[in-house]
Amino acid sequence: METALSVTVGCFFAISVYLLLSKHVIRIMLGVGVLGNAVNLLIFTNGRLLREVPPIIAPGMSTPAMEIANPLPQALVLTAIVISFSLFAFMLVLAFRAYQSLGTDDTDGMRVAEPADEKLPPLGY
């Protein structure tokens, strides 16, 4: 299972990087969305996999009776999902406002902070 997921994770990363490298904000946003999943799966797989045994202690026991799925990466990924969603929403709105202000979704056109023909700073004292 780890092998299969490793390859899957690689595909997730490849697609998200390819999308991030594009010049269109929409595609970059889609790339961010995929990147979140890629990272989550990466962490999850790193913690080793075990099928269908959730990390829950059965009633009446004080410790798990059998081997259970590793709870630690699950806890990490759970918060990561929520936070990456918040970040995704924020970037989406940011991109939306940038499009409204600048009238383009091409990153080459979004150069207010670093204009192409930037002048030299003042040379006096």
């Binding site: 299972m1 997921l5 595609r27 913690g47 959730p54 202690i57 410790t63 999902i81 990153t107 006096g124």
Partner: protein, 782 residues
């Protein structure tokens, strides 16, 4: 007794800083009369240091201090011997007079309090510098004097010339300070000593080291920039943009002597080598001549004095480099004499400027009757500067000629340099003291009259001190000069010279100096034009070089910035992910940690199905022709991931992922449908292939890394801990939830704070009204 004396010294070193803190308040309450109160601080410190005279003159060296940062070997430790004591007395004694003088000079200035504060800060820094024993403490105070000097030169910050001079001084002396630090660290590395007293006690360890030349060049880099040695002399005349009290105090009497102090201090441990005896006289002599010649060219009183200061500093370095008994004695005497007469002359120049409204030597004249006290102070100081009896300057000059008189070619060269320099200084000194006060009375911008007591007290006191020290030279020699020469030379020295001239070579050289000086004085106007013509012919100097360097620096920074921050997002991303790919592959290849070829996974069919659905979703995102397809595809891969979580025993993750993907698709749809955008890819094919290569390499890198990691051993310590204690001490059966809300509660608290901040930020982004793109402001014309 010893303890209380140490504590007193400690407080004496801190007192200037305390005085600097109260200065603005005192000035607001008392106006310029606050000078009388504030001058008490240096006066008290002066008195405190006089108590050491007795002990030090009997040959003792006082070292004491407190641990400051013991882990780094930094102590707040001081070293008081003849050298540092003389400096401390000069700094505080002249300092007290300067504070009074500033009270009169800047009377009514809106920032007088600030000025007092700066000058007292400087005093504290300078005092700390000369008494520091620890290397790092020395460096800290060294840089502090550079910074306070920057503040004082730029005091009149509304003028560009002031700002330029301030930046120039800071750049030159600050860089020198770094060189000094490097030199000190080399010395510390070689000798294992972090203190001057330790270095002085280490004998010839430094001289014999292979790193001697490195350390010497670095240390001299600090000393030469601070003491304005050629070719770093240019900042000092520019520093005359500062108010005159600053010029008198920092740029003649004290700060610029810090470099000389350092050279003198290091002489016993690092002097007496061929390198030392070549570099120092060479640079010192060059500085002496350049300073003297350029001084003649000036008409501004302050600039004339500034260039003679450069010349004097050169002379001091030259003498220290010679290192003979007489040379060391001459350096000690000349340093003290110079501080007194040059400080006095600067203050006189300031008084003329203040009362007559100009300090151009060709525009003033006949002020003698209007300003008799100032005129007499000026005359006394000039006599001392010219090296005539019965002044302290005379003793110094006689001793100089004792030191240089010799028959070797080297010494003859040095003598000639000293002769020429002294003659030039003689002429300029008298030009400053005579031209404004004698001759025909000229019309000046302001109606000149004698200044208030605060203005003439300082110059007069220093000028009179020049006579008194010469007349009672036996006492001064015992208490000050001899211990100082001892400290510089490293061997007990006794100075006996007095105002009574002895027949011999030195006296003949003195007479020759006077003749030459008078000749220069008489033809000073013609010489001035000649030198100006020569300089115009050369056309370039270090001062202009500084401007070019700064301009080059700005141009280079702008070029580098625009090369790195070119503003093209896709290139930023490309670089980032290329670096990511390198970071993934390089360690695996370098450490030979590539994963073994895995067996083909044996999965139940439904797991294959889910993985294939995820991959189809991914592919569909990339090739989607319209945005709705792309969004739905994003949802598909997200739900597939949720199912994978479910199959692998993570129901919590699965639920969360389902909800989040749903919401993502909803908000994406909400936003995207409002944008009239074309989601297809317009990149040219070459660019696409390059991006695919980068993306593919990254993906492969992650796959290989993950394979390698999962093939390795796994440390379950933390997981076991959580599994064991989740119910027993945290009373929860859902271990994931227990980790989130109990074991790692603080993390979760931070995470929900992030979620909330993201919510607030989005709200703010949505609420602001979109505005038109601002036109970029046109840059300033070059």
């Amino acid at each position: 007794m010893e303890q209380s004396s140490d504590a007193l010294t400690f407080f004496a070193l801190l007192l200037p800083f305390a005085a600097a803190a109260v200065a603005p308040l005192a000035t607001r309450l008392m106006g310029h009369r606050a000078a009388w109160l504030l001058a008490l601080a240096p006066a008290l410190i002066f008195l405190h240091f006089t108590t050491f005279l007795d002990e030090v003159s009997s040959g003792a060296t006082i070292t004491a201090g407190y641990a400051w940062i013991p882990a780094l070997g930094v102590d707040f430790a001081w070293l008081i011997d003849g050298l540092s004591l003389t400096f401390a007395l000069l700094i505080t004694g002249i300092g007290a007079l300067i504070v009074l003088y500033s009270g009169g000079y800047l009377k009514g200035h809106e920032h007088q309090g600030r000025f007092f504060s700066f000058i007292l800060l400087f005093m504290g820094a300078m005092l700390g510098l000369v008494v520091s024993d620890n290397f790092l403490m020395l460096f800290v105070f060294w840089e502090l004097t550079s910074i306070t000097s920057f503040l004082l030169i730029g005091f009149d910050h509304r003028r560009e010339a002031s700002r330029r001079a301030a930046i120039q001084a800071l750049a030159v002396t600050g860089l020198g300070g770094l060189s000094l630090l490097a030199g000190l660290l080399v010395v510390a590395g070689v000798t294992g000593e972090m203190s001057l007293s330790g270095l002085l006690g280490s004998g010839g360890a430094m001289r014999d080291s292979a790193l001697y030349a490195t350390a010497l060049v670095l240390l001299l880099g600090g000393a030469f920039t601070k003491s304005a040695q050629f070719p770093f002399h240019f900042w000092l005349p520019n520093a005359m943009e500062a108010p005159t009290p600053v010029s008198a105090y920092l740029h003649s009497a004290t700060m610029v002597k810090a470099g000389v102090y350092l050279v003198m201090r290091l002489n016993p441990a690092m002097g007496d080598t061929v390198m030392w005896a070549t570099i120092l006289p060479l640079f010192g002599g060059a500085t002496l001549l350049v300073g003297g010649v350029l001084a003649v060219r000036q008409t501004d009183l302050k600039l004339m004095l500034a260039y003679t200061t450069v010349a004097s500093l050169g002379l001091l370095v030259m003498l220290t480099g010679l290192g003979s008994e007489h040379a060391v004695a001459a350096a000690a005497l000349y340093l003290v004499a110079h501080s007194m007469f040059k400080g006095a002359l600067f203050m006189v120049a300031g008084v003329i400027d203040h009362e007559a409204g100009t300090r151009d030597v060709t525009k003033v004249g006949g002020l003698r009757r209007l300003m008799p006290v100032t005129a007499s102070a000026a005359m006394l100081a000039a006599i001392s500067m010219g090296g005539l009896p019965p002044m302290f300057g005379f003793l110094a000059k006689e001793e100089i000629y004792y030191a240089t008189a010799g028959a070797t070619p080297w010494l003859i060269l040095v003598t000639l340099a000293a002769l020429a320099g002294n003659a030039l200084m003689f002429a300029v000194g008298f030009a400053v003291a005579i031209k404004p006060f004698f001759g025909v009375e000229r019309e000046t911008p302001k109606h000149a009259h004698e200044g208030p007591v605060l203005l003439w007290l300082g110059p007069l006191a220093l000028a009179v001190a020049g006579v008194a020290t010469a007349l009672f030279s036996n006492v001064v020699h015992v208490l000050v000069s001899s211990p100082m020469a001892t400290a510089i030379g490293g061997i007990p020295a006794e100075i006996t010279i007095s105002v009574v001239p002895h027949i011999g070579v030195p006296l003949a050289l003195s007479l020759l100096t006077i003749v030459a000086g008078v000749a220069i004085y008489r033809s000073i106007d013609r010489l001035r034009e000649m030198i100006a013509g020569m300089l115009a012919a050369i056309g370039w100097g270090p001062d202009r070089g500084f401007d070019q360097a700064i301009r080059g620096l700005i141009r280079a920074s702008a070029a580098i910035t625009s090369a790195i921050h070119h503003g093209r997002m896709d290139v930023y991303m490309g670089v980032t992910f290329t670096a990511t790919a390198v970071a993934l592959f390089a360690p695996m290849i370098v450490y030979g940690e590539l994963p073994a070829w895995p067996a083909f996974p044996d999965l139940p069919f439904y797991e294959w199905t889910i993985i294939i659905i995820a991959l189809i979703g991914l592919a569909a995102i990339v090739i989607a022709k319209d945005r709705l397809t792309a969004i739905v595809s994003l949802g598909i891969q997200g739900f597939a991931v949720a199912v994978i979580f479910m199959l692998l025993g993570a129901p919590d993750l699965s639920f969360t992922q389902f909800m989040v993907e749903t919401l993502s698709v909803v908000i994406l749809a909400l936003v995207m449908t409002r944008l009239r955008l074309d989601p297809t890819d317009h990149r040219p094919l070459g660019e696409k292939l390059l991006d695919m290569a980068i993306a593919g390499t990254c993906g492969l890198g992650f796959t290989l890394m993950l394979l390698r990691v999962t093939q390795g051993t796994f440390d379950r310590t933390l997981s076991d801990f959580f599994e064991q204690w989740s119910y027993t001490i945290a009373h929860g059966r859902n271990i994931v939830n227990v980790i989130l809300v109990d074991f790692r509660g603080v993390d979760t608290l931070g995470e929900i704070a992030v979620v909330m901040i993201a919510g607030l930020a989005i709200l703010a982004l949505i609420r602001i009204r979109p505005r038109a793109v601002p036109e970029p402001k046109p840059g300033p014309e070059l």
